[in-house]
Structures are given as structure tokens and as C-alpha cells.
């Protein structure tokens, strides 16, 4: 297990560095890093510090958050199909963010944007847990997720269509597919505190998630309080997915693919899967964000497109396995 974590940290660090040196401006590695660390005159420090650094940091924290929440929700619902993007939690967060932007709340107070998204994510996660709780099977989970997603996406589209701003309607793509292009350090500072808080909250559920391996009753008999666990989990997911969606849009499948790939490497223990998935999610989103810049540098290809190309076939595979009765 140690080598796994060492490797994940190494890969994530390398991708973070690669994200910093990827960009159309064609700065050399040395020049870029010097401008980043030492500053100086001219456009290079602006490019490195104001454009590339926030993008790389957001790739790290948004990806890490999505991986972590995916692993946590799967552990809690005991279902490998649970993922914030697929089951409507991110969609509800996007709705919250869109509402904050369109009502002008985010203009009067910057914190309103992540807070409103957080509220949306909390409602989505709460609704889902209420509908499909740990006793609900895959079918309930997926149906509840479809319903919540549909509702959230329709709400988002409605709000954007009603906007007097001609761009707003076209932004549905961003909210559905996600992008980290042209975000600034302001966004980083806006989302970092709630996301760190959420990660800490989710980390406290690690042992409880392990206990849930044996089922709800056995876990409760081992001292797990179902109510406080649910509360901590929903709050933690909302604190992470809300702000992440507010700045990056809905980046789907990260929380599905990463835990699925890493599960065998941590002996399937939900507690060990949490930090592994956080690192893996960060690596995946950083890699996808580098890829969108390399594949179509001038078109702002959406991140969610890439993650869906990787994730959707895997999702189908998982449904197939669940259908044929096998457990993950």
C-alpha cells in the first residue's frame, strides 16, 4: 500500500508541474518556473502566476475533491455506481451556482457563489441519501440520480434561458461539462477553505465506512451512529462538490473511475480508498486538463468531455457487472 501512495503522490506532483508548463504561450520550462517563483517584469510572471498557477491548483483540488467524494459516497451507499456527477449532486451544485450568478448575489458577495453551490449540492446529496440510502439497491440509486440530475439540469437551463445576458444560454455547456480555463487565484481562495473543511469532515467517516462493509446493522452494532454518519457525509460532500462545481462546472465520472481503478490496490477497504481516490482524482483531472490544452488548444474543449469518454464505458461495464449479480 505504501508504494501505491508514493506512486500516486509522485504522479500527481508530476502532473501538477506538467500543468504549469503546458500552455499556448510556449514558455520554456526554466523561464516559466523562474517567472513563477521569482516574479519579475514583463508578461511571463502574469502568465505563470495569474493564469497557469490557479488552473493547476484548481485541477489539483477539484480533482482531489471529486475523487474523495466519489469514494466516500460509494463507501456509504455500498455501491460502486455512486458518483457526485452522475447522481445529480454536482448538477444541483451547478444549479445553486447559476442561481447565485444570475441573481447577482455573487456580485455583491463573492462567497455567495460557493455557498449557494454548496447548498445545492447539500440538497442533492441529502435527497439522494433519503431516496436511496445504504439499504437501497443500485436501481434505486440510479433512478434517484436520474431524477435529481434531470431536475437540476432543467432548472439550470431555465435560469440561464431567462437571463437577459445573451451569453448565459450558451453556458449550459460549461455547467454540464466543466472547464478550468481562465480561472484566477480569486477562485482558488474562494473554494479552498470549504473544500478543506469538507475533506476533514469526510476523513472522520473513514472507520464508519469500513464498518459499513458488514452492512448497516453490523456497523451500528459496532458503534457507528447512522444519523451522524449520514449528516457528516452529506455535509462533507456538499462542502467539496459545491465549491468545486461553482468554479469548474460539472466534471463527471472522476468519482466513479478513480475509486474503481484504485479499489483493488488498497484491498478494497473504504477507509484506505479515501486518500488514494483523492490523489487519483487530482491526477486524473490534472491529466485531463493538460489533455484539453494539447488536443484542441484554441477551442476550450470541456473537461467533462474527456472524463466522460473514459468514464461512460466503465459505467456501462459496472452496470453490466451489477446486473449479472457480481459484486464489485
Amino acid at each position: 500500500m505504501r508504494p501505491l501512495f508514493a506512486m500516486l503522490i509522485l504522479v500527481t506532483a508530476m502532473l501538477f508541474a506538467a500543468s504549469l508548463i503546458t500552455g499556448p504561450a510556449g514558455l520554456s520550462v526554466v523561464d516559466g518556473l523562474r517567472a513563477l517563483l521569482l516574479g519579475g517584469e514583463g508578461p511571463m510572471p502574469i502568465v505563470m502566476r495569474e493564469i497557469r498557477l490557479p488552473r493547476a491548483v484548481l485541477g489539483l483540488v477539484v480533482g482531489g475533491g471529486l475523487g474523495l467524494t466519489g469514494a466516500a459516497m460509494q463507501g456509504y451507499l455500498r455501491n460502486p455506481l455512486a458518483e457526485p456527477g452522475l447522481i445529480g449532486v454536482s448538477g444541483m451544485a451547478a444549479l445553486g451556482a447559476v442561481l447565485a450568478i444570475q441573481t447577482g448575489l455573487s456580485l455583491s458577495a463573492a462567497m455567495a457563489l460557493p455557498l449557494s453551490a454548496l447548498l445545492g449540492a447539500g440538497m442533492g446529496a441529502g435527497l439522494l441519501v433519503a431516496l436511496a440510502g445504504p439499504r437501497g439497491g443500485s436501481v434505486t440509486l440510479i433512478l434517484a440520480g436520474i431524477a435529481i440530475s434531470a431536475l437540476a439540469n432543467a432548472g439550470t437551463a431555465l435560469v440561464l434561458n431567462l437571463s437577459p445576458n445573451p451569453y448565459a444560454a450558451n453556458e449550459i455547456v460549461f455547467w454540464l461539462m466543466g472547464s478550468l480555463a481562465d480561472r484566477s487565484m480569486l477562485h482558488v481562495w474562494l473554494v479552498l477553505p470549504p473544500m478543506v473543511l469538507g475533506a476533514m469532515l469526510i476523513w472522520t467517516t473513514a472507520r464508519d465506512l469500513d464498518a459499513l462493509t458488514l452492512g448497516e446493522n453490523a456497523a451500528a452494532a459496532m458503534g457507528v451512529s447512522p444519523t451522524t454518519l449520514r449528516w457528516r457525509l452529506v455535509a462533507g460532500v456538499a462542502l467539496i462538490v459545491g465549491p468545486a462545481t461553482a468554479v469548474g462546472g460539472v466534471i463527471g465520472f472522476v468519482g466513479l473511475v478513480v475509486p474503481h481503478i484504485l479499489r483493488p490496490w488498497v484491498g478494497a477497504r473504504p477507509s484506505a480508498l479515501l486518500p488514494a481516490s483523492a490523489l487519483g482524482g487530482a491526477a486524473l483531472v490534472l491529466a485531463a486538463d493538460i489533455a484539453v490544452r494539447l488536443i484542441l488548444p484554441e477551442r476550450d474543449l470541456k473537461l467533462g468531455v474527456l472524463t466522460a469518454i473514459v468514464g461512460a464505458p466503465l459505467f456501462l461495464h459496472l452496470i453490466w457487472k451489477t446486473r449479472s449479480g457480481g459484486r464489485m
Partner: protein, 245 residues
């Protein structure tokens, strides 16, 4: 007393599932809980350990969650294993109520002892989900043993096991009682119950119909009242065999 229930009643969906149940289990007792389907055996266990709301008194449900988990281990009827964890990690889950995160020397000792006791060393690194039903049941019992609680409450632990596994399991329980643990075990096979349990509690329609030695509980008229059948009892040197007719 490891378990002390008084006037325990459970109402589910406006129906009284358990009514005024009183039951106590001391160290060294292997108590068999028998009764027809729907009598309330599982409900009694769940209420005793505080998983469902009830009225009355349970010494376990009154404790805080951690203290209760250290006082009583519970084996639910559904042998659920959600993830493909290794047998060793599965058994280690029993250490969750204890400090040490499963890695302290005490934890290691308890885990190893439980695995040895259930003969699981050869399967240590195997994925629990890929074991046979009997092996999975043993791994789950080992998990409960690793919890090192003085009381073990097991819901239908031998259901679905082959005769050899059933015998092995009940012998193990007898051994545990011999070491001073208390056990409450629900069981359908009256013959096995009579042979292995030191005491039987017969539950029917949510009430305790009889509580005492197997000979006292398994009288024809009691069985007729509880199950609506007659039985023939054949005494053998290895214990009684009870045939439903």
C-alpha cells in the same frame, strides 16, 4: 448479567411484534433462541442491541455506542460483505470499537487469535467474497470474535451451512461459553438446539412461551402450542433427536 432485558416491547407499523419480553444471560451460558418464523427472534436481537426503537429496558441499549460495541458483538442474519476485502481485513473490522485502528499489538493479537480459532490462516489473503458460503460464515464469526466482547448475539449463524459446518460452529460456540462468554443464538433446528445449548428460550407471537433447560422447553405441549405440530423425540447417547411429524 451480560444481557438483561425487562418488559421489552416493540411496535412496528402499529403491530406489536414483541411484548413484555424479559431475558437475561449470564457469563458461560449458551442460550438458544427458538421459535417459528415471524415469532420476533430477529426483532428481539435488534432491540436488545439498540438497533431499533423499543419500550422497556435493555442493559445494552442503555450504554453509549462504543461501550455497547465492546460489551456485545452482533452477527446479523444477512452475511453481508460489501467490498472484496481480504479475510484478514474483514476480521480486523471487529477491532473498530477499540482504539488502535486495527494496528496496535492488542488488535493484532485479537485478530490472529480469531483467525486461528476459525481456521482461517490459509485464507488470510484471499478475498472474502470469493470464499464458499461456509468459509464466509466462518470469517464473519471470526470478525465477531475479534471484537472480544463478553456477549455474542448471533442471528441464525448456522442457517445455510452443511451439517459438518453446523456442528463445527455450534461446538465453537460451546467452547466460547466454556471460556466464560455469554451467547444468544437463534436457531431453527430443535435437535441441534437441544444438543448444544445450555438453555433455550422459546419465542412465539412476540412473547416468551418457555425459558429453561432444553428438556423443560422442548415438551410436546409447548412445541404444539408454539409451532402447531407434534414432534417425536428420540434420545441417543449424543443427545436427543427431535423429528417434526
Amino acid at each position: 448479567m451480560l444481557l438483561e432485558l425487562r418488559e421489552l416491547s416493540v411496535i412496528r407499523r402499529n403491530r406489536e411484534v414483541l411484548r413484555d419480553v424479559g431475558l437475561s444471560i449470564a457469563a458461560g451460558e449458551l442460550v438458544g433462541l427458538i421459535g417459528p418464523n415471524g415469532a420476533g427472534k430477529s426483532t428481539l436481537m435488534e432491540a436488545a442491541i439498540g438497533l431499533i426503537p423499543f419500550s422497556g429496558v435493555s442493559n445494552l441499549a442503555a450504554m453509549d455506542a462504543t461501550a455497547r460495541a465492546r460489551a456485545a458483538a452482533y452477527l446479523p442474519q444477512s452475511r453481508e460483505i460489501a467490498w472484496p476485502v481480504s479475510v484478514e481485513d474483514l476480521v480486523a473490522l471487529g477491532r473498530i470499537p477499540w482504539p488502535g485502528s486495527g494496528r496496535s499489538s492488542e488488535d493484532r493479537k485479537a485478530i490472529e487469535a480469531a483467525m486461528t480459532r476459525m481456521g482461517l490462516e490459509p485464507f488470510r489473503h484471499r478475498t472474502a467474497l470469493r470464499l464458499s458460503g461456509g468459509e464466509q460464515a466462518r470469517a464473519l464469526i471470526a470478525r465477531a470474535l475479534a471484537q472480544e466482547a463478553p456477549l455474542l448475539i448471533a442471528d441464525e449463524p448456522v442457517a445455510g451451512l452443511d451439517p459438518a459446518q453446523q456442528l463445527a460452529c455450534l461446538r465453537l460456540f460451546q467452547g466460547l461459553a466454556g471460556e466464560g462468554r455469554g451467547l444468544l443464538v437463534s436457531i431453527h433446528d430443535l435437535g441441534l438446539a437441544a444438543r448444544f445449548c445450555s438453555r433455550l428460550v422459546l419465542l412465539a407471537k412476540g412473547r416468551i412461551l418457555a425459558d429453561g433447560s432444553p428438556d423443560h422447553v422442548l415438551r410436546d405441549e409447548v412445541i404444539r402450542e408454539a409451532f402447531g405440530i407434534t414432534t417425536r423425540r428420540i434420545d441417543t447417547p449424543d443427545g436427543p433427536a427431535i423429528l417434526p411429524i
